[in-house]
């Protein structure tokens, strides 16, 4: 298979957004959360605990640089400067390398809080599918973590795995979920979800005459089975939501729903101006915890 020159099928969209109609003044409590993930770096700004703006960029090899880049992106066109931020929380894979952060907090606590902010107090189970790990988190109505499980042993069933498949099958990453659903009958899941070996297996299936859709369906199915197992281990309690980059993959989300027999709460359509994005759940949660920590420090 020849690849059109310069076309990178795995490349997802970096973007920044200011929530329409939102304003800030110097009297407000302005906080930030910077979530340096293994694949994407996200920064979110909150004004009095409400989402104001955010930026999503690709994580580079240098964590502090990625953190700065994401924060600058979130501040772009807002008129805000880093010095206007009352409190900054760093989180994610590279959290200890967020230079401007007042405090580093695990992404577990931040995703829990972020999911609670995006979907409200009915959320009890959060599945965060990141670039390099999967987390199943049970939370209470305040967004406090009750129980969690993280699988970061290998990249199987993560965003990175999907990027590899997008490239292999020459399907733009944004379309991968929908295309995986274009099969008449759901195929058996691939036996191996390991990214390196799944690639070999996928090539074998393609050579056997399987369509791209069918190969993708089999791989996506295998990923969803793995994720459902993690959720069952921490204990599924409704409502269920998916955060992280793979929350945008309808092929994954609909298969998890089918396997577990529950519907997830409706995804905000991140493409709409004025809509929240589940991919920034960690950064939003971090900014929300930053506000709480700032207020706590003021009371002392």
């Amino acid at each position: 298979m020849s690849k059109p020159k310069g076309k990178e099928f795995w490349r997802w969209q970096e973007y920044h957004r200011i929530m329409p109609g939102k304003k800030w003044s110097s009297k407000d409590i302005i906080t930030a959360g910077v979530d340096v993930g293994s694949v994407g770096s996200k920064a979110a700004i909150m004004v009095n605990g409400e989402a104001y703006s955010w930026g999503i960029t690709r994580t580079g090899s240098n964590s502090p640089e990625s953190a700065n880049k994401a924060l600058d992106y979130a501040l772009e066109d807002t008129g805000l400067k880093v010095s206007d931020l009352k409190y900054i929380v760093g989180t994610g894979y590279g959290r200890v390398n967020v230079p401007m952060a007042n405090k580093a907090i695990t992404e577990i606590a931040c995703h829990a809080k972020g999911a609670n902010y995006i979907w409200g107090p009915t959320v009890r189970t959060v599945l965060d599918v990141g670039g390099q790990d999967i987390k199943a988190i049970r939370i209470d109505e305040t967004g406090r973590v009750v129980s969690f499980l993280m699988n970061d042993k290998c990249a199987a069933g993560t965003g990175r795995g999907m990027e590899v498949f997008a490239d292999l099958l020459q399907i733009p990453i944004e379309q991968i979920g929908e295309i995986s659903l274009k099969v008449e009958k759901e195929p058996e899941p691939v036996s191996c979800t390991c990214v390196a070996f799944a690639k070999t297996e996928a090539m074998g299936l393609l050579r056997k005459g399987w369509s791209r859709e069918k190969v993708l369906a089999a791989y996506t199915r295998a990923m969803a089975v793995r994720m459902a197992n993690l959720i069952n281990r921490v204990g599924l309690e409704k409502e269920l939501v998916v955060t992280g980059g793979q929350s945008k993959n309808i092929g994954i989300v609909s298969r998890i729903e089918a396997i577990l027999g529950v519907k997830t709460l409706p995804m905000p359509n991140w493409r709409d101006e004025g809509s929240l994005d589940p991919m920034v759940a960690g950064a939003l949660g971090a900014a929300s915890l930053a506000k709480a920590l700032y207020e706590k420090a003021q009371k002392r």
Binding site: I105, V146, N151, C154, N229, R233, V234
Partner: protein, 95 residues
Amino acid sequence: MITHYGYCDGSGEYYIIIDSDKCSGCGKCVQKCPQSALKLETEFIDLEDKTVAAVSEEHRKKIKYTCGSCNPESNNVPCVLTCEAKAISCVWNPR
């Protein structure tokens, strides 16, 4: 907060589970662990930092081998037995 340290892979599922709400941070399990796989860590919960027992980072991805020699299938392992607060348990299901 209940933390599952470990993983599920093709060979089975392996978890050491620590409940930080019950953990007093006494550190007795850390001393008892024959593999030195446990340590005291700072955990952020309810806007506070609390010192609790945790499986150390370097052992999390190879817990099947690190903890396997204690025979966690029985649940009669030094860390579980020594914990007065009953904060530690294991799930060990090799396929």
